[in-house]
């Protein structure tokens, strides 16, 4: 059991906050653009250093001492209702390192990527980035459900701002709103769950709750419902079926933002929350079964949609949804450690995939993989991307292989054969769709269409290579010294065979044309038709929103405005000819409203009478 210095953790948290405040309050600094970027990057870089230091200087603690330090925030008689503070344990320290590292690299990369952005808007971009890093760090260091929820909402708000960064594009504004509302839907469950948990356990504090869970003093009545509601929050944030539909649209933001959202922040919040609260989830096996099945189903569903997508960023988006499904499935199967390990390695190579895709998009000015190609001569561009692709596909000895195998082993060990089969099929598809992108975007014959400026900014390349080095290092470290999850001897071979099979199929289809992709698509037409339409889920949500909530709201507004006001307006139209306006107000208006009040009074009297008897 490790713990770290709370002071250092506060430094990690405070640096991006200070940078955000400086950028938000000092208008000249924000409008300076690149200078604002420098401030933000310095702050997050220092935060990364502090996070590493926190990790290196971690000390072990006795098993029963709390890793949390908190201060009263919202007082109440007796003990405070809400506290703020930091919980510094292995989980939060690892996440802090990952979050600051990816944020730092993404911000650095953005300096080159958004070189054409006007200065004031670049300043705004970095202000959002600082706020985003602060929110995510606050979330991972939270010692209680309240603080986690507070930062959870802030993370949602930041992603809304960043996805809609180019708000003059209607698609971006729409995608931002969609992301916000769909995740908000899950948050409804989250907050209701927290309130109910507090009602039954009397505390929000993780450590106290864990103590109650371990000691058997946590009231179990209604706990399944509570944990299910809390899980709904994770469904929204971590894009689980059926709330996954916001994530692919979130690609409308700048590419570095996608890298940030998909790798280290936002979407990992849900998995992190489930891991963090696992001692509580562990008490409700029914909910865990659901978590595992939904996760595995999401993994396969998203993988199938990635196979028919031609937009490179959307393929990566679906692959994120799919990988989040793996993590959730592992957590549901009772292996939260494996889920978390995959979260960390995936964070590193998914960031690389997005930043690498950003380089390609920068070269071709398009997202369409069918209009790319001919990059064989540019190893600086394709080597990091292919390394990350191999990692995602699960090829030995890259980190994705180990963590994915651990997840499969964990799911199997938990006795979840169904989800295991779904996940294994997903692993095959993962390798297939990723290498489909690689073969089409990099190694296909060049299309005359591209503009041919074959210069990759040094900063962007350097960031990509750093992440590539990190990916390889992570993999080699696990291969050489990492402890291996006890698993059946055939599992690594199956895992590797599935991955290689997927790579092979992609190679044969998109390099050799055997079998011809068009023929395959024709053979699987119904499935392809469905996948291309995203299984109709987006339409379903849009319709429910449009016809449900909005219609109800307009109905209420309409009744209030026209049935109440309208009656009078009709009356007034008649009397208007009489010209006596004051009289009209007197008679027309009063009558109608007075009827309302009288009716209400009658209801109250009846209610009172009923309550009395």
């Amino acid at each position: 059991m490790l713990t770290g210095s709370p002071t250092l953790a506060l430094v990690v948290l405070g640096l991006p906050a200070a940078s955000f405040l400086a950028l938000a309050l000092l208008r000249p600094l924000r409008r300076a653009g690149r200078l604002a970027g420098g401030v933000s990057i310095t702050a997050i870089g220092a935060a990364f250093g502090a996070a590493c230091l926190l990790w290196l200087r971690a000390t072990s603690r006795a098993p029963l001492t709390s890793p949390s330090t908190s201060w009263a925030w919202i007082p109440a008689d007796g003990e405070p209702m809400a506290t703020v503070g930091v919980m510094v344990d292995e989980l939060s320290m690892t996440m802090a390192v990952l979050v600051t590292l990816v944020s730092f690299l993404v911000q650095l990369y953005s300096l080159a990527y958004l070189v054409d952005e006007p200065a004031p808007s670049l300043g705004r971009y970095y202000a959002y980035h600082s706020l985003f890093a602060f929110s995510m760090l606050g979330l991972v260091l939270a010692p209680s459900f309240v603080q986690m929820f507070v930062f959870w909402e802030l993370v949602g708000l930041c992603s809304y701002l960043l996805i809609g960064f180019w708000y003059d594009r209607p698609a971006a504004a729409r995608a931002a709103a969609k992301a916000f509302w769909i995740t908000k839907l899950g948050d409804l469950g989250f907050v209701a769950g927290i309130v109910m948990l507090w009602a039954s356990a009397g505390t929000f504090d993780f450590w106290t709750l864990f103590g109650q869970a371990a000691g058997g003093t946590l009231p179990t009545e209604g706990l399944a419902t509570i944990m299910f509601l809390i899980y709904l929050g994770a469904v929204g944030k971590s894009a689980q079926f059926p709330l996954h539909i916001w994530l692919p649209d979130a690609m409308e933001g700048p590419t570095p933002v996608s890298a940030l959202i998909h790798a280290a922040t936002m979407v990992t919040a849900g998995v992190f929350m489930v891991t963090r609260a696992f001692p509580l989830f562990g008490l409700v096996p029914d909910v865990l079964v659901l978590v595992a099945w939904v996760g595995a189903f999401t993994a396969l569903l998203a993988a199938s949609m990635a196979c028919v997508e031609s937009d490179i960023k959307r393929v990566l988006a679906y692959s994120t949804v799919s990988q989040l499904g793996y993590m959730m499935a592992a957590a549901g199967a009772g292996a939260p450690g494996e889920a978390f390990a995959h979260l960390v390695t995936h964070g590193v190579f998914k960031a690389l995939l997005f930043l690498g895709a950003g380089v390609v998009i920068h070269l071709f000015h398009t997202n369409d993989v069918f209009r790319m190609g001919g990059l064989t001569g540019l190893p600086a561009v394709w080597v990091p991307f292919v390394l990350a692709t191999l990692a995602l596909a699960g090829i030995w000895p890259l980190p994705g292989f180990f963590t994915k195998e651990a997840i499969l082993a964990g799911v199997l060990e938990g006795g979840f054969v169904g989800p295991f089969v779904l996940l294994a099929a997903g692993a095959f598809l993962t390798a297939f769709y990723m290498f489909r992108v690689v073969f089409l975007a990099f190694f296909a014959p060049a299309h005359g269409g591209h503009h041919g400026h074959h210069h990759v900014p040094t900063l962007m390349a350097a960031v990509c290579w750093t992440l590539a080095g990190l990916t390889v290092a992570l993999g080699l470290r696990t291969a050489l010294v990492g402890e291996h999850h006890p698993a059946p001897a055939w599992l690594p071979w199956l895992s590797l065979a599935l991955a290689l099979g997927g790579v092979g199929l992609a190679w044969s289809m998109y390099r050799r044309g055997v079998p011809d992709p068009a023929v395959v698509a024709a053979a699987l037409r119904p499935l392809e038709w469905m996948a291309r339409r995203r299984y109709g889920l987006d339409g379903l949500f849009a319709a429910a929103y449009r016809w449900g909530l909005l219609a109800l709201a307009s109905l209420v507004g309409w009744v209030d405005r026209y049935v109440v006001d309208g009656v009078l307006n009709v009356l007034s139209a008649w009397t208007l000819q009489g010209g006596d306006r004051l009289r009209r107000l007197q008679t027309g208006l009063a009558q109608d409203y007075v009827y309302g009040v009288a009716l209400g009074a009658l209801c109250l009297l009846v209610l009172a009478r009923w309550a009395w008897s």
């Binding site: 208008r27 009263a72 925030w73 919202i74 007082p75 109440a76 008689d77 209702m81 809400a82 309240v146 507070v150 909402e153 708000l157 708000y167 003059d168 504004a173 931002a176 709103a177 916000f180 509302w181 908000k184 948050d187 409804l188 907050v191 209701a192 309130v195 109910m196 507090w198 009602a199 909530l549 909005l550 109800l552 709201a553 307009s554 209420v556 507004g557 309409w558 209030d560 109440v564 006001d565 306006r581 004051l582 107000l585 007197q586 208006l589 009063a590 409203y593 007075v594 309302g596 009040v597 009716l599 209400g600 009074a601 209801c603 109250l604 009297l605 209610l607 009172a608 309550a611 009395w612």
Partner: protein, 485 residues
């Protein structure tokens, strides 16, 4: 006859805050007769000075327990807490009015005098220890507000608002009076303490219960609970924006002060009954308020429905009961007052082509034209949603927490879901301000020193309440203790 007239000894100290304010009102009327005739801005300063003086008096008397007129007027911590809220709200309204009313062509001495007189009514309402005083104070407050709502005499909507407010207000007052009569009939007293101690209260006399229901109708109108809310959107929309701010905050706080005192002191024997009634009122009020607000495109109308919804939340605290519930309501009122005055204040300072800017579309791209003003309004709206670390979040937290502790988990869950729905219409304004292209000739800021200062004070309040709620929460708790003894 050797009899002498016995002059009763009247301790006026219990009336001190109200006397200061009414004195300032008289002074404003007198000064109005003197030159200069062209500008009346200096009268605003006099009114402001009076309110600040009243605020200082109130603060200096914290912790005392004064009574006057045979317990008809009480100046305990509870009243003092509300006096602070009311004086503060009135002072900000005066500051906002200084440029606004003159610009819109209605500045005169009477305006400030009427604001002060209605404030006097509010202060008395918070101190009322007798149902007769409740009624008198309510009328003093309301009659001034009826006139203020119609103060822009040349505007049809303003006259319409005034007329509607007056007619329905009079109607609701009759319910209140009828309820008072019923209670008097049942218990033989109008004093709150004596009502609580009467035999009828213990026997559950039906008259007593009818009195409760009628009182709730009267108060329900003043604090605009559904279904007695119909006047609110029209009046809020039509009245001068500064007056709308006063109606939405000061008058609501005062009516709540009296309602809580009546329920918790005089009608404590009927607590199960009024809890049941308020439970349904709370659910209906917040749900309808929020749903109707979703469909509004006029900002003043939207804020009107939103304030109805906020009343629903506050009723949740009353249902929760006990010191924590009542304390939560007081804290919420404080936070709500800070935030709502700020939101209406921004509207009062925005103009488009010489007209008030009230449509959401007129605020498109405000962030580009005036980032400071846009950020200010954004913070107020975020506080209304309940985004931490602003006042609205902590206030909601207290309220819903009190409901959970009081065993009303479902009510708390309904309230939480409601506040999630509410986020939509507030955020829509943010989207317009930050993510839409500015329209040609959209809303613009009209420079005003006093108005800007008022916004700054409100903003500091919103942030301070959210970041360090402890001292304010202690005050609110300290204020409700004398009631629950």
């Amino acid at each position: 006859m050797t009899g002498e007239i016995v002059v009763p000894v009247v301790g006026l100290s219990a009336l001190l805050p109200a006397l200061v304010v009414v004195g300032a009102g008289g002074l404003v009327l007198l000064l109005d007769l003197l030159p200069p005739r062209a500008s009346k801005a200096h009268l605003g300063t006099v009114a402001l000075a009076g309110l600040v003086a009243a605020l200082l008096v109130t603060v200096s008397r914290w912790g005392t327990d004064d009574r006057a007129f045979r317990d008809m007027v009480l100046l305990d911590n509870y009243a003092l807490f509300f006096d602070v809220v009311i004086c503060y709200a009135a002072a900000l309204v005066v500051m906002l009015s200084m440029d606004y009313v003159g610009r819109e062509g209605g500045e005169s001495g009477e305006y400030y005098a009427l604001v002060l007189f209605s404030t006097t009514g509010m202060l008395l309402l918070a101190s009322a220890g007798d149902l007769i005083v409740v009624f008198l104070a309510l009328e003093l407050m309301s009659l001034s507000l009826y006139v203020l709502a119609g103060f822009f005499k040349t505007r049809l909507v303003s006259g319409e608002a005034s007329m509607k407010y007056f007619l329905l207000g009079a109607f609701a007052s009759s319910f209140l009076l009828y309820g008072i009569a019923m209670l008097y009939g049942a218990t033989g007293s109008t004093n709150l303490d004596r009502i609580a101690g009467s035999p009828a209260a213990r026997d559950g006399d039906p008259l007593y219960l009818v009195g409760l229901a009628l009182l709730l109708v009267g108060f329900g109108f003043k604090i605009s609970t559904v279904p007695f809310h119909m006047w609110a959107p029209d009046v809020y929309e039509g009245a001068p924006t500064s007056v709308t701010a006063l109606i939405a905050t000061g008058s609501k706080a005062a009516a709540f002060a009296a309602l809580i005192r009546v329920l918790v002191v005089a009608l404590r024997g009927l607590q199960p009954d009024w809890t049941a009634l308020l439970w349904s009122l709370a659910v209906v009020t917040m749900t309808l308020g929020n749903l109707a607000a979703l469909a509004q495109s006029n900002l003043k109308r939207m804020l009107a429905y939103s304030s109805i919804a906020h009343v629903g939340y506050m009723l949740v605290g009353l249902v929760a009961g006990g010191a924590s519930g009542a304390g939560a309501v007081l804290f919420y009122l404080l936070a709500y007052t800070f935030t709502t005055i700020g939101a209406f204040g921004v509207l009062a300072l925005c103009q488009r082509a010489g007209e008030e800017a009230v449509e959401v579309s007129e605020y498109a791209g405000l962030a580009r034209r005036n980032p400071v003003l846009a950020a200010t309004l954004a913070l107020f709206l975020l506080s209304l949603i309940g985004i931490p670390p602003l006042a609205g979040f902590v206030a909601k937290f207290y309220l819903f927490g009190a409901a959970v502790r009081g065993g009303h988990v479902w009510l708390a869950v309904i309230a939480v879901l409601n506040s999630a729905v509410a986020a939509y219409y507030y955020l829509r304004v943010l989207v317009y301000m930050y993510m839409r292209e500015p329209e040609a000739g959209g809303a613009g800021y009209v420079p005003s020193f006093a108005g800007g200062l008022a916004l700054a004070i409100a903003l500091i309040g919103v942030v301070a309440l959210g970041v360090m709620p402890a001292p304010f929460a202690d005050l609110a708790q300290g204020a409700v203790t004398p009631l629950l003894r």
